[in-house]
């Protein structure tokens, strides 16, 4: 358990681990639904995108012709829910021929820094991600 920043109440560190590509299965969408609901609980929330999970953040998703709702704009709204830490694994990007430029711009307004717009996506190495996982109280995998 870790103390909530600036609050007396204890909060837990929650990590949502996304390892699956969107649309082929519903896991990515329903993971996002948990994140949105969970945001109301004022826990310390991070998201990790590894393996095929990095495809969830691909730019230019257009689902009209498959008849499925395009939920990718929701990632860009996460900042409004104070979900601002989206860790994307560099090795997973490399393995899939992707770079940061292939991903959507996801930003948040930093209330501690005059509401400056900052990137939510942080590209980290596999070993950095292992450290992030080790620092969590609750890990939910999808």
């Amino acid at each position: 358990m870790s103390e909530a920043a600036g609050g007396g109440a204890t909060s837990k560190k929650f990590l949502y681990v996304n390892r699956k590509a969107p649309y082929g299965t519903i896991y990515a969408l329903e993971s996002l639904e948990v994140v949105l609901i969970g945001a109301a609980f004022e826990q310390d929330v991070s998201l990790a995108f590894i393996d095929d999970g990095v495809f969830q953040l691909s730019k230019g998703q257009s689902t009209d012709a498959i008849g499925v709702k395009n939920f990718s704009p929701t990632y860009r709204a996460l900042g409004d829910y104070e979900v601002t830490k989206l860790y994307v694994e560099k090795e997973s990007l490399d393995e899939r021929g992707l770079t940061l430029d292939d991903l959507m711009d996801v930003t948040y307004e930093d209330e501690d820094d005059d509401y400056e717009e900052k990137p939510s996506i942080r590209v980290v190495s596999r070993s950095e991600l292992a450290d992030i996982m080790a620092g969590q109280d609750v890990i939910l995998s999808f």
């Binding site: 681990v17 390892r19 896991y27 590894i50 393996d51 090795e91 596999r126 991600l129 292992a130 450290d131 996982m133 080790a134 620092g135 969590q136 109280d137 609750v138 890990i139 995998s141 999808f142």
Partner: protein, 102 residues
């Protein structure tokens, strides 16, 4: 904090075990259940990676899932500990958190 990683996929079908082992830290545990029990076998293409993790990570396999699949203990890599469901519970309690590699 230490993590008990659970893996339930065959290493010959999905990369869950390989990805899991790439994210463990010294002192973590890895428990193979369901189709991941095939990852505990000797002489397979994933044996070397599992073997290499042994020095830093506790390796466990769920006995009931081995038995269901007709896998005898002599097929297992050395250093892999067989547990039953009660042992699974003990492992979850022993490590600080649990992460499922679905």
């Amino acid at each position: 904090m230490s993590i008990l990683h659970t893996v339930n996929k065959s290493p010959f079908e999905k990369n869950a075990l390989s990805s899991c082992l790439g994210h463990t830290k010294s002192g973590d545990g890895v428990l193979l259940i369901e189709d991941a029990v095939y990852g505990a076998l000797k002489g397979t293409k994933s044996s070397d990676q599992v073997e290499a993790a042994k020095s830093t990570v506790g390796l466990y396999v769920l006995g009931p899932d081995l038995a269901a699949r007709g896998l005898a203990a002599d097929r297992l890599l050395d250093g892999v500990t067989v547990v039953d469901y009660g042992g699974f519970v003990d492992l979850v309690a022993k490590y600080d958190t649990t992460q499922a590699w679905l």
